[in-house]
Amino acid sequence: MITLNHYLIVSGMLFALGLAGVIARRNILIIYMCLEMMLSAANLTLVAFSRFRVVDGLPDYAAQSLVFFTITVAAAEVAVGLAIIVALYRAKQSVETESVTKLQG
C-alpha cells in the first residue's frame, strides 16, 4: 500500500534528478527547467504532508497555501529569468554556461 514515505521518496528522487541536471547540463534553459523540477519536488512534499496531517477532519490547508505561493513565485521567477536569458543571448549569441565567464577572474 502507498504510504507517506512513498510520496517523500518520489519527491526526493525528483529533486535529485533536478539537482543532477543543474550540475551536469550546460544549456542555461535546461538548467532553468531543472530548477523548476526541484521546486515542484518540494511542492509534492508539502502536499503529501498536508494530506497526511488531518486538522479538524480536513487536510492542512496552511501547507497547500504555501504551495500556492511557491507556484506564484516560481512563475514570476521564470518570467524574469527568461528575460535575463534573452538579454544574455543578445550580448553573447549563446545560452551555454561556458560563454559566460566574465566573473571567472
Partner: protein, 191 residues
C-alpha cells in the same frame, strides 16, 4: 488512490524528469518537463489537493512551459550535437544525485511517522461540516464532498490575506522587471 495509479504517475513524473536531464534537444526537454508536471499534478489530485493539482497543470504545464518553448523557438536553440558532454560535471551531477537519493531513501525507510497510509489519516468531512462557518462550505462538507477550492480560498483570504497581496506586488515587480530587462538600451547596437 489505488497503488497501481500511484506507481504509474510516479513513473511518468520521474521518467519524463529523467528525459529532461538527458535529452540533447531543448524542445524535447521542455515537452518532457510538461509531461512530468502533468504526472505530478495527477499525484496532487491523488492527495485530494484538487486546486493545487489544477493550478499545477494551468500554471506550470500551461503557462510556464509555453514561455520556455517560446524562448527556445525565439532564440532558435539547436540540439547540441557533436559536442562532448562536460564529463567532470556530468559525473559530479550523477554522483551527487545518487548520494542524495540514497540518503533520502535511507531516512524515509527509518522514518516511522511516514509509515502511515491514506486510510490511517481519514478525512472527517461531515464532522468538519458541523463546525464550518460559511454555509456553502458547510453544505458541501455535509454532502460528503471536499470543497477544495473554496477551502483554499478561505485560507488564502482569511489567514494569508497580507501574504497574498505581497505576492501580487511581487508579480507586478516581476512584470516591470521583465519589461526593463527586455528593453533595448539606446545607443547600444544589437549585434
Amino acid at each position: 488512490m489505488p497503488s497501481i495509479l500511484f506507481y504509474l504517475f510516479a513513473a511518468i513524473t520521474l521518467g519524463f524528469g529523467l528525459l529532461v536531464v538527458t535529452s540533447h534537444n531543448p524542445v524535447t526537454s521542455a515537452l518532457s518537463l510538461a509531461a512530468s508536471f502533468v504526472g505530478l499534478a495527477a499525484l496532487f489530485l491523488g492527495l485530494d489537493a484538487y486546486f493545487i493539482g489544477t493550478i499545477q497543470i494551468l500554471v506550470y504545464a500551461g503557462a510556464v512551459m509555453v514561455l520556455f518553448l517560446f524562448i527556445i523557438m525565439l532564440l532558435d536553440i539547436k540540439a547540441e550535437e557533436g559536442k562532448k558532454p562536460n564529463i567532470p560535471a556530468a559525473i559530479g551531477g550523477i554522483v551527487l544525485a545518487v548520494v542524495m537519493a540514497l540518503q533520502i531513501t535511507t531516512i524515509c525507510s527509518s522514518f516511522n511517522m511516514g509509515n502511515v497510509q491514506i486510510k490511517d489519516a481519514p478525512l472527517a468531512l461531515t464532522q468538519a461540516g458541523e463546525s464550518a462557518k460559511l454555509p456553502t462550505i458547510a453544505n458541501d462538507l455535509k454532502a460528503g464532498v471536499l470543497p477544495d477550492a473554496k477551502l483554499m480560498g478561505l485560507t488564502l483570504f482569511q489567514k494569508y490575506g497580507f501574504h497574498l497581496q505581497v505576492v501580487g506586488l511581487l508579480l507586478l515587480v516581476g512584470t516591470v522587471g521583465v519589461v526593463v530587462l527586455s528593453k533595448r538600451e539606446k545607443g547600444v547596437k544589437d549585434a
